[in-house]
Amino acid sequence: MSTATEQTVSPVANHARSGNKVKAKTGKGSSVDNNKMNFKTSMRRNWVLYLMLLPAAAFIVLFAYVPMYGLQLAFRDYDPLKGITGGKFVGFKYFQQFFDSPQFWDIMRNTVFISLGTLILGFFAPIILALLINQISSAKTKGFVQTITYMPHFISTVVIVSMINVFLDPNTGMIGKLFPNTILMENPNAFAPIYWISEVWQHCGWNCIIYLAALSAVDTSLYEAAKMDGAGRLQLIRHVDLPTIMPTCVVLLIMNMGSVLAVGFEKVWLMQNALNMPSSEVIATFTFRTGIQGFQFSYGAAIGLFNTIINFIFVVSANYISKRVSNTSIF
């Protein structure tokens, strides 16, 4: 990600940095500009650096790129004897099988609905919370509010889901009792809202840290100037705070766009039951159910690949749009 940023966004910054560096070097009388030496020289001089990089690179190759190589399974019949790459090539058979399956549209609709809601709420809620917290003048109170709102982020999904179960229990749960006509966890219409709200509850505080950091960088003279112009507090928020965090917002939105079709597996899986299934089956859970539990490896690989490609298209196009519109991009 940042490699790319350097190319696209901050040529100026790079320039400045290397400029400084050259200055520092010449000041000490060293004549070699390290950026310009060739690979062999670099290897000889910096072999320690490559060695330090090696374990991480090896792990990435083995556990990220080897599975990518294994994706060809999506286009082959799985043959347990010949391994991943040995099966018969069948083209798009398994993709077709997925598109033709009776659950296809339900799964797509559920996935998009659940994740889009999470995306939208999860985008706006932290911004609003950060703007509010930023209004607190006492450092102590600010710290207190932050401490409390960060906390749920560290609770495990298993515990979160059982908390949801406890509170939504129709007989004993505090929220469940408010809905006497239905059992919320078993109501297909309630599934997505429960998911969204609990996501916001858990991560809103944590996700606002980044905006608070951006807000702390606001030049206070801007506030003074705006106040001089007669701006009230709301106007300060709208005309000073909001523009300040806008670039951060855009980058986070792009990054989140990539997950439009990537609903977290764990939470949906744990919240699922036979009755809410019509609205809770998403691509990830379906892949697990058919691919791993049903041993249909090729089919599962095809569904997974389909999902990954859609996500990838989303990230790349969101990035492209934002580059055109606001000159902000992640690669």
Binding site: M1, S2, T3, A4, E6, V9, S10, A13, K21, N35, F39, N46, V48, M52, L53, P55, A56, F59, F63, A64, V66, M68, L71, L73, I84, L132, I133, V145, T149, P152, I155, S156, V158, V159, V161, V166, A213, A214, S221, L222, M228, G230, G232, R233, P243, M246, P247, T248, G258, L270, T287, F288, I292, F297, A301, G304, L305, N307, F312, S329
Partner: protein, 337 residues
């Protein structure tokens, strides 16, 4: 996340513009204010509306804090209140009729202890490996004189957005004999690209280059420089990364669900799942006859509360110590300075 920095940089031009125009206006405004410093109408209006805004902000924040805090608080008090009172909604703010029956049941359950032990092993060893792999790599990638830095970084970053997915991973793990093997907790997730990027931008921005020049003069190689100078200056990033990785391991449920079949190797989260969300509750069979089904159900509920607390307790204990690093950590990854 390092890009946000750069995004900020790119956004700079527009920010600067805003800056300029504001300055221009402010000079004008200052002039105006100097002419009529007593303009009472303006001041009064601002005062009242600000006051209203203030109240609204405070009320909303108070509601947010309550909404976040109360569910957690309720689980805490419910875990040692009389389960009958909890079930009938009579426990709201403070624990009532304190009992530790739920905790007794929790601690009498072998699965919990074994899960705890497994989780501690996976988390401690896992985090150690994470740090040993991630930090040196991040340092290497932070050095501008590393040839091929950009393509290497791209290969790392690409994996954040594209991957093999569940099935190819599963088959690979099968070939590597990682199924039902505790190393599945350590090796595949040894490096998180996200954390690598955070650490890299920390090394780039927070360690002054002059230190490296000085180390070079002292005849120190890169490794010595990293171990003796960079690491001691990096406690913030070590704490942040350690926290991220540790919490990730501690809360990991996915790995156990998919790659572990032997219950003796289950970490806490998977044990919890079978206790909390499974059909069979721990209370069934452990309480003697003569106890009504309702009471049994209530005890089962209390066990659930106790389990939630027990499993989250270590993180709660760590929380105050690590809290000061939260802001720092996210800022390192996000906004320079």
């Amino acid at each position: 996340m390092a890009n946000i920095t750069d995004a900020k940089l790119s956004g700079h031009s527009s920010l600067d513009d805003a800056d300029d125009s504001h300055n221009a206006i402010s000079i004008e405004a200052k002039k105006r204010a100097a002419e009529i410093p007593w303009n009472p109408k303006m001041h009064q209006q601002r005062g009242v509306s600000d006051w209203v805004v203030d109240i609204i902000i405070w009320v909303v924040l108070a509601l947010v804090v309550i909404a976040v805090l109360y569910p957690m608080w309720f689980v805490v008090i419910a875990s040692f209140s009389n389960p009958r009172l909890v079930a009938t909604g009579q426990v709201t703010l403070w624990p009532r009729d304190i009992t530790f029956a739920g905790y007794e049941q929790v601690f009498a359950d072998d699965r919990i202890w074994r899960g705890y032990l497994n989780t501690i092993i996976y988390s401690v060893v896992g985090t150690a490996v994470n740090m040993i792999v991630t930090l040196p790599a991040a340092f290497a990638l932070s050095r501008r004189d590393l040839r091929g830095r950009r393509p290497i970084m791209f290969l790392f970053t690409f994996t954040m957005y594209f991957g093999g997915g569940l099935i190819p991973n599963y088959l690979l793990f099968q070939q590597l004999h990682l199924i039902d093997n505790w190393l599945v907790y350590i090796l595949p997730g040894a490096v998180s690209v996200w954390n690598l990027i955070i650490a890299r931008s920390f090394f780039e921005t927070s360690i002054p280059e002059e230190l490296h020049d000085a180390a070079q003069i002292d005849g120190m190689g890169y490794f010595g420089y990293f171990m003796k100078i960079v690491l001691p200056l990096s406690s913030a990033i070590i704490a942040v990364l350690g926290l991220y990785y540790f919490v990730g391991h501690w809360n990991d449920y996915f790995t156990g669900l998919i790659y572990i079949n032997n219950e003796n190797k289950y970490p806490l989260q998977n044990v919890l799942q079978s206790i909390l969300l499974g059909a069979q509750t721990a209370a069934t069979g452990t309480t003697g006859s003569g106890v009504s089904a309702v009471a049994q159900q209530q005890l089962a509920d209390q066990i659930k509360y106790g389990v939630m607390i027990v499993s989250t307790a270590p993180l709660i204990v760590l929380y105050p110590f690590l809290q000061k690093y939260f802001n720092k950590g996210v800022m390192i990854g996000a906004v320079k300075g």
